[in-house]
């Protein structure tokens, strides 16, 4: 369970995602104080995705998230202190690169993401570098409204233009990265506020990664509700705009690998 299994055929193509594709896939779950649910989520992901390796990145939790995840059968990266989702994901990408995985898919440890959407993401990763499982793309029962919704719409339209593809849910944490994006993210995944969502897309797009959004089902969060307060939404939009501007001002990164997905 710690090392990925040997794929019989590393080039399984087609819309049906084969075992070998899953065996080349690392499911990264950043977890911060999620001991209540992380065990169940790990077991669910393992049941839904046989062959895939589940990596829980314990982001400096104060509770026994790491032990619970380990008991559930996940590989655990134990960060010594809290780095935020971006930092945890970067550690996950580094693990993926160091251990020879071709794909990494981020799944939230609170059970918000339905693992049955992962094969669709892997399928799309055969032709794209970064794939986002989106909430507003017609599937699922998740809905936000009010100012926060507007903020997300504004963000999405701007990032869509930069990425050159229609994106509606840029803040979704349900996303996959292919080999080229993995190399980039392992070194440069942004760790600032909102960096793991908006800035990472801008960074990938400007480096030449192709991005696609696919509709996936999303569940209502188990604990805690997203804020709809107008003031908070304003702050959110402001910080997101700033993150966006800074991301665009930064020098472009280049992809080191020349490999093209699906080739």
């Amino acid at each position: 369970m710690t090392a990925p299994g040997a794929p019989s055929d590393p080039r399984t193509v087609g819309s049906i995602v084969g075992m070998s594709l899953l065996q080349q896939t690392l499911i990264v779950m950043p977890a911060f104080n999620e001991s209540a649910v992380v065990g169940d989520v790990v077991r669910e992901v393992q049941a839904a995705l046989p062959g895939a390796t589940v990596l829980v990145v314990n982001d400096g939790s104060a509770d026994d998230t790491a032990a619970v995840a380990r008991r559930a059968g996940a590989t655990v990266l134990d960060l010594p202190f809290n780095l935020g989702v971006g930092g945890a994901m970067r550690a996950g990408f580094k693990y993926a690169v160091a251990n020879g995985f071709r794909y990494a898919v981020q799944v939230d440890s609170d059970g918000q993401h339905d693992p049955s959407g992962v094969p669709q993401i892997l399928d799309a990763l055969q032709r794209k570098d970064v794939v986002i499982g989106a909430r507003f793309a017609g599937v699922g029962d998740y809905e936000t409204r009010g100012p926060r919704r507007w903020a997300m719409v504004v963000l999405a339209s701007v990032v869509s233009r930069i990425a050159g593809t229609k994106l509606t849910d840029t803040t979704s944490g349900f996303r996959g990265a292919g080999p080229r994006a993995l190399e980039l993210f392992a070194e440069h995944y942004p760790a600032e506020y909102l960096g793991d969502t908006v800035e990472s897309l801008v960074l990938a797009a400007r480096a030449g990664c192709s991005i696609e959004q696919i509709p996936v089902a999303m569940r209502v969060r188990a604990g805690g509700t997203p804020s709809h307060a107008p003031f908070k939404a304003m702050i959110y939009l402001g910080r997101a705009a700033m993150a966006l501007v800074v991301a665009l001002w930064r020098p472009r990164l280049s992809l080191r690998t020349v490999e093209v997905p699906g080739s």
Partner: protein
């Protein structure tokens, strides 16, 4: 300005310089961080010894009150120090982050190698962390130390262990 004020100015400027140099000497302060403070100390000392310099410069620049030039220079200097420290802090945070990631990656890898060295104890059994170090210690360290060179037998073909070979 009377003699007391004049001497007081010089003494304070000297104290600043002595403090900075002493910290440098004891390796409590690195040169690159000390630079701005040494500049501040020297400027303060020069102005304390030759107050006419401040008055003259202020008049030349159009400051009606010479001390305002002093305050202005102080503000600029403190601003520079503060900005350079923010930049330095960002670099340090980045390094800390990388260290945290690397340490977590190494810890996971050590655990995996220890479990393998201990005779492939199934990792899913209870408390793998506890069984690892004890078994590895009984095993003798040389075999454990050689472990990282070999590739995991069950890694995906063609991609395995590019990093661990290095």
């Amino acid at each position: 300005m009377n003699v007391t004020t004049y001497v007081f100015g010089i003494v304070v400027a000297l104290l600043v310089l002595v403090a900075v140099v002493e910290l440098l000497r004891r390796r409590r302060l690195r040169e690159r961080h000390a630079l701005w403070w040494i500049v501040a100390g020297v400027v303060a000392l020069v102005v304390a010894i030759f107050p006419g310099l401040l008055v003259g410069t202020a008049a030349a620049l159009g400051f009606s009150v010479p001390t305002n030039l002093g305050f202005f220079v102080c503000l600029v200097l403190l601003f520079m120090v503060s900005v350079s420290q923010s930049a330095e802090l960002t670099v340090l945070e980045d390094k800390t982050r990388v260290l945290a990631e690397e340490s977590a990656l190494l810890e996971e890898r050590i655990g995996r190698l220890e479990r393998r060295a201990a005779g492939a104890v199934p990792a899913d059994t209870a408390a793998p962390v506890a069984t690892g170090p004890a078994a590895a210690g009984a095993d003798g360290s040389p075999s454990v130390a050689r472990e990282p060179v070999t590739l995991p037998a069950d890694a995906p073909a063609g991609h395995a262990g590019t990093d661990r070979d290095a």
